[in-house]
Amino acid sequence: MSVNGDVPETVTAALADQRVEGRVCLEAGAGVGNTTAGLLAAGAKRVYAVTNDADHAATVRDRIGDRNADRLAVIEADLRATPLATDSVDLVAGHGLCNVLPPAELAPIAAELTRVAKPDGCLVVDDYAVPPADAAVNRLFALENAAARVVDGRPALTFYPPAVLAAVFAANGWSVERRKTLLNPVPWTEAHLDAHAEVVREYAAALPDSLGEPLTAMAEDLVAAIGSERTGTMYSLAFRRADG
């Protein structure tokens, strides 16, 4: 188990009722590869860790790749158009993926994940429910989105209620087989808040100092003011193809 580093309990819980052993799996939006590590630990025959972020791809390769070279392929690709073959994946997992996708990207990504999944394949989507209106972290997320919109013209974060993601995948023939609460509350630790402030810093770096510096300062002030917060929930939806 430990060869891949600690697998978060959220991942373990989301995969606990899924058949992973001996199956071809895809982590959509690999991040630091937590789900990839969980899939490998659970005995996946092969894992495709797909990300459009070169840093994330490098992190996953460094952290997990060497010891699992025969079972892991880290692929840098846009999730709307992956190089994977049609009907090739038994289990697709998107853990904390959708909240970094703007609404316009949800449908094409759902379609692509559906294309690569086998007709009798499974899909697990884990994400955050919309945080409560009075959550302090909302202020940091709002700042992050403002910075992202100015630089990229798109939000950095969108929290989708489970019913919305269920509907998006239902449009591609998936039906929800199981719903589970992974975290309640969600612990937004100092490390998480720092990581979100870092996103603001990265956007700010693309802006003139007169705009970037106050954005960065605001993010840092918010992190200091919030410290850490427990709020909201993280959920997991497991799908099956309705015609599978």
Binding site: M1, S2, G5, D6, V7, P8, E9, T10, A13, G31, V32, N34, A41, T59, R63, H95, G96, N99, V100, T181, L182, L183, N184, P185, V186, P187, T189, E190, A191, H192, D194, A195, H196, E198, V199, R230, T233, M234
Partner: protein
């Protein structure tokens, strides 16, 4: 659900020790744990233990690994406690495989404990360890008459995947074999700062780790440990914390899995070897 760690009595005068035992009993706690290495705890527990002998299930233990030492320690503890029988006698602080060899060999500590059991000085046999869970599993395999094990369990330990932290496997095995489980370090927050930053004499609690110390945190830690499937959670060694733990145990209403995971996740990010990330 709660075991009173009687080491807390070591830090009190006799009158305070008597009061703490009364308080613990008032909360319905009937399982006490003590050891000869806990300073004067055995002596200070003695008077109230004898007064309420029928109401208290007493665990004691020994760090001796060989027959002679263990036999002597059993008699010494009986003598210091002023009682005839120790309900549960535990091999204390098992850490290395070769210790297990010594304990289980002819002339090992187990011979002495079994002999004491036959003589009515000991009723049940147990083991404590914060060592490798694999070693505890070995001990379960090798000691047929083992009835309890005591080991660490808290959100930090539960979040680590390495075999050296896999106390979940111990829990599962114990459940399968009907062995009782006692959790220690449920209230541990972390290590004390290095002594050049905080001298040992300046630590605010007697525990050898820094404990959580607010009613909310203590309640959460108790609920977490209890929810993982332990038979009982051992109270922390500092008497200042015992009242809060008694309250927590009295009011415990369980903890669902999503909340258990939240505590594990929170602890994982306190000390994560993985790069900082946005997500859980």
């Amino acid at each position: 659900m709660l075991t009173f760690g009687s080491i807390a009595l070591n830090w009190l005068e006799q009158e305070g020790a008597n009061q703490l035992v009364e308080l613990v009993l008032d909360h319905g706690v009937n399982h006490f744990d003590v050891a000869p290495t806990y300073g004067d705890a055995e002596l200070k527990l003695g008077p109230k233990l004898r007064q309420y002998r029928e109401d208290i299930f007493l665990g004691c233990k020994t760090q001796e690994r060989e027959y002679e030492g263990a036999a002597r320690k059993i008699d010494r503890s009986l003598n210091r406690l002023g009682i005839d029988t120790i309900d549960l006698y535990q091999i204390h602080g098992l850490e290395y495989e070769d210790e297990l060899d010594t304990i289980t060999a002819d002339g090992g500590a187990l011979d002495a404990i079994r002999e004491a059991k036959a003589a009515g000085k000991v009723d049940h046999i147990g083991l404590t360890s914060h060592g490798n869970p694999g070693l505890i599993l070995d001990a379960i395999d090798r000691i047929d008459d083992l009835e309890t094990v005591m080991f660490p369990l808290n959100p930090v330990v539960a979040g680590k995947d390495g075999d050296e932290y896999d106390y979940e496997a111990v829990l599962e095995r114990c459940e399968a074999e009907g062995i009782g489980t006692l959790g220690i370090k449920a209230f541990a927050k972390g290590s004390w700062p290095p002594t050049d930053e905080l001298a040992e004499a300046d630590r605010p609690y007697a525990n050898w780790y820094e404990p959580v110390d607010t009613p909310e945190d203590i309640r959460e830690r108790f609920d977490f440990a209890a929810a993982r499937g332990l038979d009982t959670v051992v109270s922390p060694g500092d008497p200042k914390l015992v009242k809060m733990v008694l309250d927590a145990a009295s009011r415990s209403a369980g903890m669902d899995e999503a909340r258990q995971r939240a505590l594990i996740e929170e602890a994982r990010h306190d000390d994560s070897p993985v790069p900082e990330q946005l997500h859980h």
